[in-house]
Assembly symmetry: D2
């Protein structure tokens, strides 16, 4: 890597999960538009052909970055300045179990990748992969900045730090952006500002990934809380419809009614999509049944849809590779490229990221992976001191906070009791009797056993 | 009060709720046996006749203490050295609503006075009384030591400190003793010690009242955890039966199966009666239905039983007053009198009490009323530094911890949203849809409205 | 105040100490260059004529801001959006005692306005003024942002928060900028970058005002610590000479040898002028005598110089008012105007400020006024989570940290013992015997008694 | 070890430094009086003959304990239930340098074994020995309880925990007892109680060893602070003379004038001997010169006296061994034997000990070795939650607190800069210029170099 004034050349970026047909395309698209940086992107994926296809696609995007699919993670990481991790842990078959196996027991999940029974089981098959990745980063590129996009976000980042405590890693998620867009929509509707951009807002997010809250929000120096109160009052019955700008997730919309309900209940602005928020609340509130979810105007995303969507994306990939169609450039609205530029010292930025708690949230245990704003500047990411989780919110959030640590410790200490304890105290599963919970836990582990460490597998045979 | 070597004379004790036909008789009995202290006990009760009857009964007990029923709280408190508070907030009619109204919604409670919907509503009618009591103590006996026995323990003590931060108050509960007796039973059964006394154990309790845990336990220098593990394994299917020594609560026994289950799950010793422990866990575990409770070998205590029992005790009172029968002396096993002696500097003692958290439990917010050991000595109660709530336990306990503060703040800030939030995030009520929860909350408030402050009553009309 | 897109008009700024012939001229100069904001500046000063002269001078600067001297603080504050405080507490006669009275006891001070005997006594006459100012802000402009420039910085800001806890106040100081300029000088000298601007650096300041440290420093993504180590090694014997750009403090230069010595000792970059740094260290190190100070290539600033300089500035003022000479525009390099713009939501910025510690420095007691970076954006100043004071530095810093609180508590609790304790444990005065210390304390109080509250005066008669 | 009801037999105690002619005789004397415990004491000393002599002496004491001098530390430790460490690190020649070398620079020390230049240098030669001891305990008796009596107490205990974090070690010191005796003397003099025993007091000590403070003190339920205030007022000019009961340290008396001065200054009761207290204060206060010390009515203990005293004790030893004289039994007033009994579960006790801070003192960094009360019971020592170091005291104490950690880290990280930093920021040495401080540091290291690790020695050649 070389600096030339305000340009940096010869960057090396390693992309783990580089065969991705979602995040990877977005990143390549954003990178191609950067005038400040150039270099090489090494694509590593357990599906080498997928990485190879992305190499072809990436190299169509322009000249500043060259793409190269590699066969080993070592080739990707060696000497990398940045590492991007965005993988699918297992296949959608395992995810099908994560999401749908609990339905037989009356437990419904709208996403199933962060919390709840699905999030826990997904974590257990993802963590061995992250142990491996962290060890390789420690070996081949210990000074690289590592950006994680994979879910369950908190446990992925936690695993990286557990294995390699000096890693320079953080996790990025766009869910807060979505809520900032709701606020922009509000400002426009109320005539305060004409189609403002979310970057014009100053917000204070606190929480854990996908259960994050804004404890303050300003547009210029206007406090948005009184406006939001009025806005929620006006729309809580029917919800709102807003055009979502991000082509990457336009299938997953909601009418924001969960968000509005939570504001009325807690007085702070829930800052994630409704589908995620619902999964952290008591199951009876928004996920008692598919009908209840629909009454709050959001859908449970069936894994069958994900499978079909994957086929479509594979077909799209084939067509782009073959030249039948062209990739359509659109800015993704993601911030990865800007973060890279900031870390290179080209310009500062403040945005929300997932990092170990050093005290940036006062009332969450130190070390827990939390989401707050941080300042990105030359080779440094410094979290903003963001105060406390409001105590009323904590009465439901605490379970997920402590279970993050329980799952982490259960996994690393090989303690099945602790893992089951996390499973059964979760706000979605706690409706089960202990006997039913044991049965479901066992079934779900069995369904993902191909990806589990031996010591867990032995307990489910 | 005067010290004569190892004796103290002319003590003045104020008993608020002095017409009690349970705790009061116990205390009078214990006081009569003390050779170290003597003086006067002023009995104040809103039922003056009950206090008057206890005056008669007390004065039959012996010479060292004189009993006097008084018409005003001022007479009781003025110049008191000690204040004992043990009241029934409202009547059993209100308690009937607390315990049984939720049953129509499928929510079952075994006690209903500490947590859950019953505990919350009981708190709301108790706190105005405690505001009044705290203000009078501040006015008439600010230097007195105040011992609380009323439930909900944590919120009673919290209210005293909120109104009069310099109060010298603590709350006492015998539930930990019961678990210590289980350990003694175990030592005897296993042949380690012949009928040991619970005072021979050294235990470290941490938690909140009625959801307290022993994180260490020794008999002489023998670690009891390995023994308990074996003991639980042997008895978890059928539970145990042990003779309960305390005449004051011998109707409320269990086979300790909840306790054993929680040990297997969390690895620490739950230290309260099963009926209390069950109420802090997810409702599906032990309280899904009366049958489920019975399968864990404990009963839901119906308020109708309490009503009948009260009639019996009234009749007993009448007979003792009239001289038809004599009060039968038995040591209660309670520690109130010993604590008084210790605070007078006559002898030190270590026991568990409820106090504001100054850091004695590291991971519970400061100011929360917590239960740990404390050293009692001349005019001082100093909590023992007791470490952390185990993180796995915290995944269920946290809701109750934060809701203690939410109820306190909701009450003092007149914030109905916060109170409802506490109601609906509780581990027993969270099975309700938000709509059902609102309906039940409203009904329960209505049923106790005679004792609520105006600002709450206005919301339920 | 009205927003028009990226402009704000009709701002009202109150300037307390508006007769200042230093800071006020700088601010007026900077304000005149702003294209984003306009409005009125109300100048209040106990020397009304000085304010009146500044009104004349200010109105020569341009059109965007109108200046108006007012006779009462109420007129200045009522409805103000921003309040700037920059006063001289007492006169240079009192400061003469602060700085020079201790010299008879062998205690030398290079500045005498922040710490040491001079800083303490200055605090005692400043705090009553700040009590008054805080009360008026609470009354007339409770929503205004308040920027303090007066020393002793920490105790001025602490007093504002003590009197009016909800105040939106912070303290600004340019000493960190000076150290950033040293780093820029280094980058230029070492050929890493050609005359870089300090805004291109990313640094992490931690500490208390005038005893602040950089625990990290980057230029682009280059770590400056290894470079600084080399630089210090090369220059520690002779120091460096660098052209100081800021016309406001060009009399106070040093060769940075104290800074270099402290780096060698502690391994972190001391970030204030040498004259300030020296006063927080044991007196024997750099301030044993004027000669010792000179051997470290800095001067003790005599108050006689300040008196002469004031005469010169008064004469300059007269000439500008009369039109004999024109004020020469130069950007001051101060950040007040940028901060105002950021708080109006016009653009974000990160800079170092003095704020109550909410945890942004982990190992300084909560509530202490500390200096760290903060993010300024629409109506919000949020401190950056800045980690710990290095433990080795803390072995000298702690005395000043705790004495900040001791002076604050001594003043507000009217506790002369506590004030004397702070005096006598200070790192400069602790060389005195207790008897000598008492005598000096008494003398210094007497010399400033005109400005002290009665309860202190009574102790010195 | 075997329990028989309230007796324990077959204890194995290892005594490291078992040739001691002070502490060892005291312990043997106390052990001989115990009716509850019996067993074997293994005496290990680098001076084997001294241990052998103590074997002879010990076996004269009675039957319950057998004494045996051993040639290797392994023999002493293997299977030990308790380990007692009381060694002289180096010889009095090194101590002569510790205490007297600084005098040439005008730095006077009354003891020179805990803090100040002497304490630091003594720590550096003691820590390698404690590294070795800790490793052997880890190897041979990891479950033993370890009692340390050697100074510098804090760094000895800190080293044990650093090397073997799971060690069950604590440090004991009788200095607090001495202050409790002053309070008893006061009670007697004031006619409150006739010759009360210090065990009748309830006190709350907080601090670091030899700079400990009582923040509360009661006799029965009488608050001793108002009495002490009166007492100090009456005696501050002349001090007091009280008969010291402890034969082990009757040469080291004072008139308590330092203690009284510190009470007047800080409002809390300093709880160590004046000679120790003085060394933690700024040198100008009590140790400016021998005359100043004498004016406060205490002496600097010359090491020549210690050398002579050692000869006397050697001669005494010879005579006892040969049977010329008999050892005279006196209870030492030390608590070692009682602590052993408590840890065996025979009876509880509360006393002050030195332990790593887990939060028992709220405002001292976690992990620092602090002195507070703790409850001793079966196989457990649990510190009492003791609140905060008063902030006014902290303004001088903090330097010693942070330097404890700086010395520990400097030693284990082999960081001479950090060690010198601790040396030069100390409250006694900070009067030196940096150049003089370097010279003295170098000289003192040289004088003790025989006992220093190589990496330090290399810096002083």
């Amino acid at each position: 890597m070389k600096h030339f004034g305000n340009r940096v050349e010869d960057l090396k970026i390693a992309y783990i999960g580089g065969g991705s047909r979602g995040w990877a395309w977005g990143l390549m698209s954003d990178l191609s538009q950067s005038k400040e940086i150039s270099g090489d992107v090494y694509l590593y994926d357990i599906d080498f052909q997928a990485a190879k296809d992305n190499e072809t696609i990436g190299n169509k995007f322009g000249d500043n970055f060259k793409y190269k699919a590699v066969l080993t993670i070592k080739e990707a990481l060696l000497g990398a300045d940045f590492v991007i991790i965005s993988i699918l842990p297992g296949t959608f078959d395992e995810m099908e179990s994560d999401v749908h196996a609990p339905e037989k027991y009356g437990i419904y999940q709208s996403v199933g990748d962060s919390t709840g029974p699905g999030g826990l089981i997904r974590a257990l098959r993802t963590m061995p992969m992250y142990v491996e990745i962290a060890e390789r980063i420690k070996e081949y590129s210990p000074e690289a900045w590592v950006i994680n996009y994979t879910n369950p976000m908190a446990l992925c980042v936690a695993t990286l730090y557990k294995v390699f405590p000096r890693i320079k890693a953080f996790g990025c998620c766009h869910e807060v952006f979505g809520t900032q867009k709701v606020l922009c929509h509000m400002l426009d509707e109320m005539g305060v500002a004409k189609k403002p951009d979310r970057h014009e807002l100053a917000t204070t997010p606190v929480g854990i990934n996908h259960f994050t809250w804004l404890t303050s929000a300003y547009y210029k120096n206007t406090d948005l809380f009184p406006l939001y109160k009025e806005f929620v009052k006006a729309h809580k019955q029917e919800g709102i419809f807003k055009a979502d700008q991000n082509w990457m997730n336009n299938f997953f919309s909601s009418a924001e009614m969960v968000k509005f309900e939570l504001f009325e209940k807690f007085g702070v602005i829930a800052a994630a999509g409704d589908r995620h928020l619902a999964e952290f609340c008591p199951g009876s509130w928004f996920l008692e049944s598919p009908d209840v979810a629909n009454s709050w105007k959001f859908n449970l995303t069936p894994v069958s849809w994900r499978k079909e969507d994957l086929l479509t994306r594979k077909e799209t990939s084939r067509k782009i590779v073959s030249g039948e169609i062209n990739f359509e450039y659109k800015p993704t609205g993601e911030e990865g490229v800007n973060q890279i530029c900031a870390l290179l010292g080209l310009s500062d930025m403040v945005t929300n990221v997932n990092l170990p708690n050093q005290g940036q949230i006062e009332n969450i245990p130190l070390g827990t992976i939390v989401e707050t704003n941080a300042i990105f500047s030359g080779n440094s990411v410094v979290p903003v001191h963001s105060g406390k989780i409001p105590e009323n919110v904590y009465s439901i959030m605490a379970t997920a906070v402590y279970n993050q640590n329980n799952i982490l410790n259960g996994f690393f200490n090989k303690d099945m009791d602790l893992l089951f304890n996390a499973f059964v105290t979760d706000r979605l599963t706690d409706k089960l009797s202990l006997a039913d919970a044991r049965e479901l836990f066992h079934t779900m582990l069995k369904n993902t056993s191909k990806y589990l460490p031996d010591w867990i597998v032995r307990t489910v045979v």
